[in-house]
Assembly symmetry: C2
Homo-oligomer: 336 residues x 2
Amino acid sequence: MGASIKDVAARAGVSIATVSHVLNGTRPTQQQTRERVLAAIRDLGYAQNQAARNLARGRSTLLGLLISDIRNPFFPDITAGFQDQALAHDMDALVMNTNYDPQRTLNSVRRLVGLQVPGVAVLTSQIDPAVIETLAGHRIAAVYLDLGRVDQSISNIVLDYEHGIIESLEYLTQLGHRRIAYIGGPLHLTSAQRRKRAFMETAVRLGLEPSHTFDADFTVKGGYFACSKLLNGSTAPTAIVAGNDLTAIGILHRAYDGKLRVPEDLSVVGFDDILFAEYTQPALTTVAVPRGEIGRVAFQALWTMLSDPDLTGREYRVGTRLVIRDSTLPPGKNAD
Amino acid sequence: MGASIKDVAARAGVSIATVSHVLNGTRPTQQQTRERVLAAIRDLGYAQNQAARNLARGRSTLLGLLISDIRNPFFPDITAGFQDQALAHDMDALVMNTNYDPQRTLNSVRRLVGLQVPGVAVLTSQIDPAVIETLAGHRIAAVYLDLGRVDQSISNIVLDYEHGIIESLEYLTQLGHRRIAYIGGPLHLTSAQRRKRAFMETAVRLGLEPSHTFDADFTVKGGYFACSKLLNGSTAPTAIVAGNDLTAIGILHRAYDGKLRVPEDLSVVGFDDILFAEYTQPALTTVAVPRGEIGRVAFQALWTMLSDPDLTGREYRVGTRLVIRDSTLPPGKNAD
DNA sequence: CTGAAAGCGCTAACAC
DNA sequence: GTGTTAGCGCTTTCAG
């Protein structure tokens, strides 16, 4: 226990340089020498001292992952995906909750800088310019979610809402629906804007009848009331696409109250934002944001930049997709 | 950017030792000197190089947190609690998913050893002896969940199921219930054993009528069928305590099927194990395991040992407690 | 293919 | 109250 590279070198009868190179595969070594070193390592139960390694190399094997709050069901899947990839590449993920607090966020970034992390994934909903600046200033590779731009040492993941929307509209038309409405969120949120636009453009592209759209507020209540209005209108839709999960829940409640049977009398497609999989009891169709994939792609983005001496950033596209669940209880996690 | 302690020393006109001591408060410094140093640090945007710091001190500011899987709703709260405490003490938490895989777990532990972490919290459901051994062998402070023993450099958190059970039985008797049944899990699980025993002992202590108990399998179906049997028996209970949340869900479904109105006709108390708060729609009473507190206590346990030169371990008790929710939608997270 | 040795940036004696 | 300096354990030239 507590053996150092010197001990290994001594036991194997080689120099510490050789041990280092054997360990890192950083220069060719004779088969025999290598084996002796490996044996010594095993005998001594030697583990590389990462602190020393990081100091010498000027970068750590730690990658930062900034998320808003691990208690928000949006993030565990992302985190796991990121961690799995990191592990597969012999790196570790340092996950930090920003708690939606800019000050805490900046503080976390500073900690990461101090830790000499070579890359950071910032997957929070809000992105502070100071964070981007700090990271870029230290030449730390960074990947953001829906940042909207790419730069030197900056990659970006864009969520492709259209893909899932297309699938859902194709699905609904296949079921025979012709009047499909959309109930979304407040347009000051970019995600609400983008989802609505995806719906409208896709509806046009598929040659559907002009559809009712409604900007609610991404809450259960909002979905409930918006649904009421739509159903009471002269041309009630036979299917509704919701802009997020809470809205869809509200719609479903309205449907239940009105004695409709879901999804037979009214088809509802929800946007699997946050807590749908855990929440929903009845069978429901949703457009799923593949959270695990986001995490994995985020890692890949960092890894790619780190392998490139001049940290060239690029854009990654992650598609949403339709998930049709059955009503088995308890509801499984979505496919991802 | 990229300034080192030497730069700071130069700019402040002091020795690097002074800078170090100012930064760490590790020896008294003159007010004036300190201010100059601090100013220099600010001007240069200097951040301590943790790698160097760790190397020199022989221990890092990273604490390991081993959990089974962050996607399991049991863990995010724990994780957040641990991280918050760590941050408050100027440390970082390195969270690792073991994926219930002993090999991966051991591998993670080795990584943590290499990272020179001074402490590790092992909050997985299964605990591998090899992990305990490795950690102890490297004199790394460790805290476990329900390990059942305490040792040099080993602390233990024990979940006090009785507390919540007492509260729930008091609550139910207060509602007028006299025949209260218990539907638990398979006895080969220690948690099932301990919960059942807590129920029985508490029932006796409170002088309740001898109660029916039933060992189901901690699944929704199991709860459903166990409930059927109980309700069909000659002396059907008027209230049921479930050993875990899935069981409670099954019970509730059985109650709905049978046209009962919950909780008016049948009181059900669930054990808030994993996904209750996210899942349940109707009002429900549960015995909550305060997950955030587990995380915080785990950190405190480590911190306490680290502050003590000979790493004396001790036992921590975390009580469960009754949580009565209303049926507002969406169901809030439990109080914790 | 291998070894010697100069750092990496910081901490912690030890001097003053 | 402050400065000097010898490491911490590793990586990585530079020689051989």
